[in-house]
């Protein structure tokens, strides 16, 4: 899994170098945009056991087309009287966004986009201290640590707006339709969440992320 991420990252960076040197439309500045997703922080407010980080990078490699890489990790702990559940892992998404907002002026960098993503996660889960209590008494159980892999696809849409008072700083939101491909079915124990995808109860679901991003401008 880690080698896949490294391969994608290096081909992405290579792509940037290649297109940076090509003859491009000079009306808008080029830059690599790096953002941090604020929704894990909000989700942590609802569920303190859920700690995570999500970042996104995108680059306009062709007019109105953005190459996107996202990634992050998740550390999920449920501390319940009858069981302790632990899950942690990393994930990455690659994809493309298409902007269909016409530039109103030559320096207007706002985009309203739709896009697609492929996502994958490498994670592990375990449960211990499971207790069942019924008429017959109290019984204990444990699930050993399992190393798992999940994949999904996303269709995205969203808005990224450059702050008028802070050049190169963007805020925005992304609405995602996620389709789970694999990672849920498991003879031993179905994972409760897959990092990057979320709760595995449904194979099709919606998610929302909002973020703050900074665009590192490249020299013309």
């Amino acid at each position: 899994m880690k080698s896949i991420i490294r391969y994608l990252l290096s081909s992405f960076l290579l792509f940037i170098v290649v297109t940076g040197n090509a003859q491009e439309d000079n009306s808008l500045k080029k830059g690599l945009r790096i953002g941090i997703d604020l929704s894990p922080i909000v989700l942590m407010g609802f569920d303190p056991g859920r700690v995570g980080v999500a970042i996104a990078m995108d680059y306009e490699f062709k007019k109105n087309f953005f190459g996107v890489i996202e990634g992050g990790w998740l550390d999920y702990n449920i501390d319940h009287p009858d069981y302790n559940y632990q899950l942690n892992g990393i994930y990455a998404l690659v994809g493309t966004d298409y902007n269909f907002l016409k530039q109103e002026s030559r320096v207007d960098h706002d985009i309203f986009f739709v896009g697609i993503r492929y996502g994958a996660s490498s994670f592990q889960q375990q449960t211990d201290n499971i207790t069942y209590t019924n008429y017959w008494g109290t019984f204990e159980d444990t699930y050993e640590s399992q190393h798992l892999f999940g994949q999904w696809a996303e269709i995205t849409g969203g808005l990224k707006v450059e702050l008028y008072f802070a050049k190169n700083v963007f805020i925005g939101w992304t609405l995602r339709a996620k389709i789970l491909i694999s990672g849920k079915n498991n003879d031993i124990l179905q994972p409760y969440v897959i990092p990057g995808y979320g709760n595995t109860e449904k194979n099709l679901k919606f998610g929302l992320s909002w973020f703050v991003a900074y665009r590192i401008p490249f020299k013309e």
């Binding site: 929704s39 319940h80 449960t127 499971i130 019924n134 159980d141 939101w173 609405l175 409760y192």
Partner: protein, 162 residues
Amino acid sequence: MIKLFLNPFIAFLLIMVMVSSCQTNSQCENSTESLVKINFYVMEDDLESAVFVEPISVYGLGHKDSLLYENDSISYVLLPLMPNGETSEFVFEIGSYTENILFTYKTSTYFESKDCGFIANYEIESVSYSSNIIDTVIIINNEITVEDEDHVKLFFINNNLK
């Protein structure tokens, strides 16, 4: 222009969507134990007919002090199985008769939800029983889950019930 209109309005809408999609079901539903449902019947003129049995007491073998049913008049019982065990045996006391019923099964557990935690389901492999007042026991559904379903038909010997 467009961006000023879109951004705060849609951001607000989407925050609403997001908050509502964060369902915090902190209540676990009541029926979170898988129980075996045994319905009582007699054969009357070759027809299966449901019966109420009275007085009937039921307890798990070795747990006589903890009765599941005490001198009841009932047409069915719901019995808990021992999680992670392979057999569970019950004692039925009906009037002056005593019967033993033993279930052999496999346990499988799954994660129901964050609040309910883990639940054990069972797959019954066989049942054995004494026959003082029981005619026959038939398993019609061997998958025991938290759903309310019929699992076992217990036929009493008609004459002995009276």
